[in-house]
């Protein structure tokens, strides 16, 4: 009970601080973009524990899809990228406390997050879907009828698949991702339902059976997060991303880290 009371007290303190901050007048600072250009450095929060988006490379520096995007944006702005490694739980606090100008950390968009930060256009695909070799003809859930389908038991994609798969689909549920991957690679299942990141991990090993995306089950692409009331920075980053999609440089990053081109709708 003691702990309880203390945490309530702390919570109350937090609320009070938040209220004071909320009431404080917006400072006269011009805008984030000007500050970044003046400093010559953009601070970008990137993951370090979520390959292929961000992980620690052999030289102990972060590498990955998100790091490449951060460097691309910094280059287009003509500034240096300062990478700030973050965990997924503190991505948004880093932004709110101005320890980062941008969060490029496989961040998905949802209404709760949209209340506290702004999002650019999508920069990376992130979805669950059905994957299979080129010779397996599947374009929609109904096509799975009579087919062996591998999935990791209890994962989100298992729940979704169980809802949409036809009754005659032979769903094999494995203990963990590795077993699901092994079942696919050894041909024990024709199709697997998994995340595009897992499919990329399979592709990276260059197997004889290459998982190609057949249809999407849940699409939740990654967006770059930035603080609210930064319209100029938002506009600039959006312009850079749009240009990078048009000139193929973002596609090259996708090919490099996910082993697949950017989906058409991104």
């Amino acid at each position: 009970m003691l702990f309880h009371r203390r945490s309530i007290a702390l919570g109350g303190l937090g609320l009070a601080v938040a209220a004071v901050m909320g009431l404080a007048p917006v400072d006269a600072r011009a805008d984030g973009l000007a500050d970044i250009l003046k400093a010559g450095v953009i601070k970008v929060a990137v993951p370090q524990d979520f390959p292929p988006f961000g992980s620690v490379g052999p030289d102990l520096k972060p590498v990955g899809y998100d790091i490449d995007v951060a460097n691309l944006i910094a280059a287009k702005l003509g500034v240096k990228a300062e990478l700030v490694p973050v965990a997924s739980s503190n991505r948004i606090p880093y932004l709110q406390t101005k320890k980062a100008d941008l969060v490029i950390s496989s961040l998905g968009k949802n209404p709760d997050r949209e209340k506290v930060i702004d999002f650019t256009v999508a920069y990376a695909p992130f979805f669950n879907g059905a994957f299979g070799p080129a010779d397996v003809k599947v374009t929609k859930p109904e096509d799975l009828a009579g087919m062996t389908v591998g999935v990791t038991r209890g994962a989100n994609e298992d729940m979704e698949l169980s809802k949409i798969a036809p009754a005659t689909a032979d769903i094999k549920r494995y203990e963990d991702n590795n077993s699901t991957i092994s079942a696919f690679l050894s041909g024990q299942v024709k199709v697997i339902v998994t995340g595009n990141v897992t499919a990329a991990a399979i592709l990276a090993r260059n197997p004889p059976r290459k998982p190609e995306v057949k249809f999407l089950i849940k699409d939740s692409p990654c967006y770059i997060g930035l603080n609210k009331d930064e319209p100029k920075l938002l506009e600039k980053v959006n312009a850079i991303l749009t240009a990078a999609k048009a000139d193929g440089s973002l596609n090259a990053i996708s090919q490099k880290w996910l082993g697949a081109p950017l989906p058409a709708g991104l």
């Binding site: 549920r173 494995y174 077993s179 079942a183 050894s186």
Partner: protein, 224 residues
Amino acid sequence: MTYVFDFGAIAPYVPLFLKGIAITVELTVIGGVLGVGVGIACAWARSLGPRWLRPPVALYVELIRNTPFLIQLFFIFFGLPSLGISLGEMQAAILAMVINLGAYGCEIIRAGIEATPKGQFEAGASLAMTRLQTFFHVVLMPALQRIWPALSSQIVIVMFGSAVCSQIAVEDITFAANFIQSRTFRAFEVYIIATVLYLVLALILRQGMRSLAGLLFPRRRATR
């Protein structure tokens, strides 16, 4: 420390448990019968068979007895397809169980065979029995009777080993338990049910083995 049991949450999944029981029983019966068959053949080969046959059988027995069952199962299910031998999960599970029980059963039955006094072979020969008749009536049946409790326990262990087969998506009791647990998060209830199911099955299996002994060794009951 108060936990509120909610078996009601599991009620919709009862058919899955029933299917799990059927699969576990199927695996155990087929694996047990074929496994004991392999065990008898290997025990004969190692103790009475031709000399050239003994090293390969010994290699098989030691290879299986000195590696984990899970690895044997994964080797068959995930490894063999690379050689073009693709078995479904049920075939792979049964094959793994037969191979496993065959090796352990071999050593158990061999112990029974080697305890046969030499004079009994000679007695068989002097009764004009063929080698096969001697082996079956004079050597094998008394040997099986001697080691029956150990063999029964080994078959029960193989039944518990079938729980491992849920790893390759065989939908046995353990698979059902894990699946239901992942859908309802009632881990305590689910594993209590699974425990009780295995316990009851094991007791039935032991009783079945005892009854089978009564049928197989009718005149020798006194020595049991």
